[in-house]
């Protein structure tokens, strides 16, 4: 199993955060990831409903400008990664294929000295929270190891975005059975059920499930099993079940 890769990535992220004496944030994911895969820059865009996604962090000015540019032009690897579920790997932005696909963005990027760009959607099934972008000043694809590392950093960013929305800070995820609970089938199924109970999307449902588990110091998969077994509901209804508390946006402990 390749838990080492996940452990390594989180160690790098927390190392960057600890150096500043703060809890891990998206900025640290970008810095750690850029270093791990030998990128010249990295940035993150976050979805803000209705398909919009805004650049929120970048490791340097050049990356920030390129993210802004894609946002303005509405084209580029990042925009494509947002609309699909697959990473978009542009190994040579000066190549005709890239210029053809992104006629405005590709030349603008190469003018700024960025010759390769790799965009990874922060996706979990139908949940899409943003995109992790990596920039390089030289053409060429990511090596297999770098590709796998980048995906692990994208996972970390996804968890941090969900944490942020659920008002959770400084939670270091537990590795269980070769992965995080967030990637278990029961959790996806429970998120689907809770989304119907709340009349909200699966993303919000997942945020609520995680916040509920976190506030009670329970494993997410156990909470998910309670939902699947209909012992726990999130809409306050249900046969004799205690109404479940949703999370508070500011992250305070739900009152019971």
């Amino acid at each position: 199993m390749d838990q080492d890769r996940v452990v390594r990535a989180w160690a790098l992220i927390t190392e960057h955060a600890q150096r500043e004496g703060v809890s891990a944030s998206l900025r640290h994911v970008c810095t750690a990831c850029a270093r791990a895969v030998a990128a010249t820059g990295a940035g993150l865009s976050i979805t803000r409903g209705s398909g919009r996604h805004d650049p929120v962090v970048a490791t340097d000015d050049n990356s920030a400008e390129l993210a802004e540019l894609q946002f303005t032009l509405g084209e580029g690897p990042s925009a494509d990664a947002m609309s699909g579920a697959e990473p978009v790997l542009a190994a040579d932005l000066s190549a005709p294929a890239s210029r053809c696909r992104w006629p405005m963005f590709a030349p603008a990027a190469t003018r700024r000295g960025v010759l390769a760009m790799f965009s990874f959607p922060l996706a979990l099934g139908a949940v899409r929270v943003g995109v992790l972008d990596l920039y390089r000043d030289r053409a060429g694809g990511l090596a297999g190891e770098e590709l796998a590392d980048a995906l692990v950093f994208a996972d970390a960013a996804l968890l941090l975005v969900l944490d942020d929305r659920g008002g959770i800070t400084g939670a270091y995820p537990d590795l269980v059975d070769g992965g995080f609970d967030e990637w278990r089938a029961e959790v996806h199924q429970a998120a689907g059920m809770v989304s119907v109970q709340l009349g909200l999307g699966v993303e919000e449902a997942l945020v609520r499930l995680r916040a509920y588990a976190y506030a009670r110091d329970r494993r997410l998969v156990e909470v998910a099993r309670d939902v699947l077994g209909r012992r726990l509901r999130f809409d306050g209804g249900g046969a004799g079940n205690p109404p479940a508390e949703g999370n508070r946006p500011n992250g305070e402990e739900p009152r019971r």
């Binding site: 890769r5 990473p87 139908a126 590709l147 070769g178 278990r184 089938a185 429970a190 689907g192 699966v202």
Partner: protein, 241 residues
């Protein structure tokens, strides 16, 4: 050609057919898992793909029984499929009662679920491995060589199905398609939850209804699941068989 050969031929024709017409990777892999059970005369089959974390993820199974699904999941810790993925060769446990030293947890759980033997065949792509085909039977016993060969052929078909053969030479495309297959499975799980809650049934039953509706209407299961999660599908119609 005997009856068994005919069934094998028919299965491959049906699978090949799925590959060329409006391809639906989830539906294809589920069909393949079911064919494994019929053709190899085992009681359960599952296809596990390795994700970028090195975790083996179940993408399709011949059954929806929770107890059996747990067995597939358990193999991120130990078991024939994990060993098969590690060494890149088929792993056979003809007698699970004698495998308690090798896999203490897995052997106990598999026996408790009513299985006497388990096998895993590698899903190979060029020099690499993308996952494994896991087989369970209630009776102890080795698989015959013929069954192993046929099982390996089915595992290869699964690999081709996931990779859309013509693109396997491009690593980045292979990588993208693996990501897509893994993510589609997540969408399907989310959709099962949505439908189960909406019509008040179990997730397993919801899965059966989704699949049946997709077949009946000629819809792509992955796309249908996505619509269910995004709220653009008619849940009442999908829910009423």
């Amino acid at each position: 050609m005997n009856a068994s050969d005919r069934r094998v031929r028919e299965a491959f024709v049906a699978l090949a057919d799925r590959l060329v017409t409006d391809f639906d990777v989830l539906d294809f892999l589920e069909l393949l898992a079911k064919r494994c059970v019929e053709l190899l005369e085992v009681d359960a089959a599952g296809l596990l793909l390795a994700d970028h974390r090195g975790t083996l993820k179940l993408v399709a199974a011949s059954t929806e029984q929770g107890r059996v699904l747990e067995l597939f999941q358990l193999q991120n810790r130990e078991g024939p499929c994990l060993d098969c993925y590690r060494v890149g060769r088929a792993v056979h446990a003809g007698d699970l009662a004698a495998a308690t030293d090798r896999w203490p947890q897995f052997a106990a759980a598999a026996r408790a679920a009513g299985f006497g033997s388990a096998h895993a065949l590698p899903m190979r792509l060029r020099d690499g491995l993308i996952g494994g085909l896991n087989l369970f039977d209630s009776q102890p016993g080795e698989l015959e060589q013929e069954a192993i060969d046929l099982g390996q052929a089915l595992a290869d078909v699964a690999t081709i199905g996931i990779m859309h053969e013509r693109t396997v030479r491009d690593r980045d495309l292979v990588f993208g398609q693996l990501q897509t297959a893994l993510n589609q499975r997540v969408v399907l799980d989310q959709a099962k939850g949505v439908l189960a809650e909406h019509i008040g049934t179990s997730v397993d039953d919801a899965h059966a209804r989704l699949r049946a509706y997709a077949r009946r209407t000629g819809r792509n299961l992955g796309e249908l699941a996505s619509e269910v999660v995004h709220g653009s599908a008619d849940l009442a119609e999908i829910g009423g068989r």
